[in-house]
Amino acid sequence: MAPRTAGSLSAGAPPADTAPHPAAWVRGLTREFAGRRVLDELDLDIAPGEFVALIGRSGSGKSTLLRALAGLDRGVTGDLGVEGTAAVAFQEPRLLPWRRVWANVGLGLRTGDAKTVALDALEEVGLGARANAWPLTLSGGEAQRAALARALVREPSLLLLDEPFSALDALTTITMHRLVLRLWAHHQPAVLLVTHDVDEALSLSDRVLVLAGGQIAFSERIDVPRPRQRDHPELAALRTRLLIELGIVTEG
């Protein structure tokens, strides 16, 4: 397959050698920053409705991969595609401070009843009461919930979460984890969660990936039913393994 610039999302057919119709697929994705290869011929498939967590050390290219899938990086080479639409929730809420919360959620919606749809989405994330507020008056957790509503209102087949909980306090994060799982169960998008938090990946995802050396260096399914106990033996073993893969603890 001829390399092409994968800056824009294509809903083209996936390569023939993979499972039929993954929600997103990546083949030979390469990205260089000033001569440094951050992504190196990376391959990845995400099944429809699958919750994938991507962990990696700082600077390993996690966010670069996510941005490529979101169509926000025009500098990548290789091939990728998303079946349907992708939506992003960033690390910062990135709400427009000059639009009321509901107008932020409805931003860019092409449907006629954008406001109704936006209000419903805000209700769903428990923010109906703040629909008319200015974003600068929201707390960090509220703003991040509004950002989630803004992503979900587009009914994406691929939801990209770029460390969306890393700026929140621990208690808010727990609430947000539950909310994300509830929304995921209800809307059933495929999810790619980029995180540096091993426990977050373990408690949320169907499959956890480690990005190292510009490639998916490790991939493991997690079949423990949710809600998961942190000290579940399978998770504990996998946690140790992941920390080894990340080079944080050494083997033995």
């Binding site: 992003v88 910062e92 427009l96 000059w98 639009r99 860019g108 200015w134 974003p135 600068l136 008056t137």
Partner: protein, 351 residues
Amino acid sequence: MPGNTPTGLLPTGLARGTTPAPEGSNSEAPETEVSTTPGAAGQNGRASAPHLSSASHLSSAPHQSMTPPGRAESAPGPADTAPGARRGKPAARRRNRTWFRIISPLVVLVGWQLVSMSGLISQQKLPPPSTVLHTAITLITTSNAAYGTLQGAMLVSLERVAIGFVVGGAAGLVLGVVAGLSRLGENSVDPLMQMLRTLPLFGLIPVFIVWFGIGQLPKILLIALGASIPLYLNTFSGIRNVDAKLAEAGQSLGLRRGETIRHIILPGALPQILVGLRQSLGIAWLALVVAEQINANAGLGYIINQGQAFLNNSVIFVALLVYCVLGLLTDALVRLLERRALAWRHGLLDH
């Protein structure tokens, strides 16, 4: 709106007002010099916010926005993009202190009267406020052959400023948007504007007379030139300082280029565009005096020239005071506009 002035132009008082540091610990007397322990700076912004912009700080904002004609010193820069610069005190609190603003002008006025009456400075050089007031009433009630009426002069000047400001401001705004939105625009427009902004308006008078004669046109063009520069510079830098992450979020939401400009870039640049508007209005008034050096036979600048010719200082003072009042009025207009256009920031201030 202390947060609206580029920090490079701020006097120390105002700069302190925009920093969420020492004032936070001295809520009851923000107008006095405050020195506190460094630890006070560690308070969180919301807690200290109610005490930040005291009345005395606010009062210096409009005047600092103005720069001399031909020397618009509002270079593009980070200006007021820091979140700390957006903090202020709740509106209710601010209203209670508004009357503080008239104390210092009153003190100056009384001092001026005393100095003049006591003969410390001759009344020829510095006519006391009472004489100036009397002259003003005379100028308003009687039409003098040398001066005309004050209100007539004001109308003539107001017309020149209005036309010049609208023409120049619109040009500055459009050029700023063009330069801000594309590299091509920047490379073609910016060098020219950077050259123009250093031109002294006084130095242009002889050229403008040769080109445009001695009628209304050169006067209006001088004002327009002066007024265009701050709006251009602030629009340009306002657009360039819009958070790229917001534009990226818009892109991820599927906004088209035009929608991104309309929903994200222009609203994001608006606070600084309004700073430019305020400076442009200030310069328009200042450029008026320069413009009315050109063979004017009416207007405030003309009255000043006549006052000089007839050695009547109190007439000059009347005209100067009219400038001050008109400047204050235009500034109040911009404040009103800001309050409406930047309501989303008041959401932060009043919270």
